[in-house]
Subunit: 88 residues, 2 copies
């Protein structure tokens, strides 16, 4: 594997975990008033687009990373709707 | 431009704006207690990795999108440090 490959795969692996600290924090604290609903709606729609793109061009890195990120975006939308008083 | 190209560029364009609603919301409300600091630290480091990757493989879409996202992740780290009481 080349240098750029190693960096690209490492970056993709880290990308998957971007939303996880927010999911864990909101899950534990049951408070999401400060969290933007629109951000996670955009992320969810965007990851769906990337997933279709990955399937279309047959790129398994894009397929796997976005398949793993979608449940976290979905969880944040659900947690925001449950624990967020203000929605913006 | 092919179908996958159009979908890919559209997805990349939308990705750039993922964090913007959160930046605007936190900027306006001056409250970030529910926002995860770790999430935006991961995002900032990750976008830096993607930026170096984009430069390395000479991919302008990766370079441009991550150059535009880095200031928003940086802004969220600064806003969290300023307006977030709890850090996690």
């Amino acid at each position: 594997m080349s240098g750029p490959d190693i960096l690209g795969y490492s970056a993709a692996a880290l990308t998957v975990f971007t939303f996880l600290p927010q999911v864990i924090k909101t899950w534990r604290e049951k408070s999401a008033a400060d969290v933007s609903l629109n951000m996670f709606i955009i992320a969810f729609l965007n990851q769906t687009m990337w997933l279709f793109y990955g399937i279309w061009i047959n790129n398994w890195v894009i397929i796997v990373t976005n398949s793993l990120m979608l449940p976290m975006s979905g969880a944040m939308i659900a947690l925001k709707l449950k624990y967020g008083k203000k929605t913006s």
